[in-house]
């Protein structure tokens, strides 16, 4: 079974630009989650999508947004990039949003802001 795939692996941007990160969940998974792993801050929850709808978001400003497509893949968009947005962005997926379904993670996209 193919795991969660994320693209690109690395992304370099400058302040003020916009970044788009992509995630394909494991086949059959309908929920997609985004996490930010910034240096010294650990893994922080960003967004959760299920069946095409945003279900929950973490404590991040509105310039962090995303969407989930009918095939359950997802995009994370970050507008007006700031230096502190430099981080590893992890995507995870699970079968359903409820119960004790574990989340399976991708390798991440390393976003660097110059």
């Amino acid at each position: 079974e193919a795991g969660v795939t994320q693209s690109p692996t690395h992304l370099i941007k400058t302040r003020g630009q916009q970044a788009t990160l992509r995630c394909s969940p494991i086949s059959g998974h309908t929920s997609v989650y985004w996490y930010q792993q910034a240096l010294g801050l650990g893994l922080q929850f960003l967004l959760w999508y299920d069946e095409g709808e945003e279900r929950n978001r973490g404590n991040f400003p509105p310039r962090f947004s995303g969407r989930q497509f009918p095939n359950y893949s997802s995009e994370l968009n970050v507008n007006a990039l700031e230096l502190e947005d430099s981080a590893l962005y992890l995507c995870a997926s699970s079968y359903t949003s409820g119960g004790n379904q574990p989340q399976h993670f991708g390798d991440g996209t390393r976003l660097s802001i110059l």
């Binding site: 989650y33 893994l43 922080q44 959760w48 929950n56 995870a92 989340q103 991708g106 991440g108």
Partner: protein, 111 residues
């Protein structure tokens, strides 16, 4: 609010010694607890979850609601256990499916 604390950023043991990675949590409802592991140059992967009460790679973890802890234990550490370990909590009642992670413990098993 839900919170996960892993008090040790670094833990070093010798091969064959017992190892315990501590995890404490705060959550007012009924949490689901997980341990994730990240080996060098690999993705974050699920190690075990409290609800399944299983042993994976010799590791076990018991949820202690009285002490609000979910410590990870292994009686005899192996060199291949060297990795970063994260404890995570899912608090369905208040925050749905999101995971709240601890800051992680880097375990090194010396030969």
């Amino acid at each position: 609010a839900q919170r996960v604390t892993q008090p040790e950023k670094l833990l070093s043991v010798f091969k064959g010694a017992p190892v315990e990675l501590k995890c404490n949590y705060s959550y007012s409802g009924s949490p689901e607890l997980f341990w994730y592991v990240q080996y060098s140059r690999q993705r974050l992967q699920l190690l075990l979850r409290h609800i399944s009460r299983e042993s994976i790679k010799g590791f076990t973890a018991d949820l202690n609601k009285g002490e609000t802890s979910f410590h990870l234990k292994k009686p005899f550490a192996q060199e291949e256990d060297s990795a970063m370990y994260y404890c995570a909590l899912k608090g369905w009642e208040t925050s749905g499916s999101r995971l709240t992670f601890g800051e992680g413990t880097q375990l090194t098993v010396n030969p």
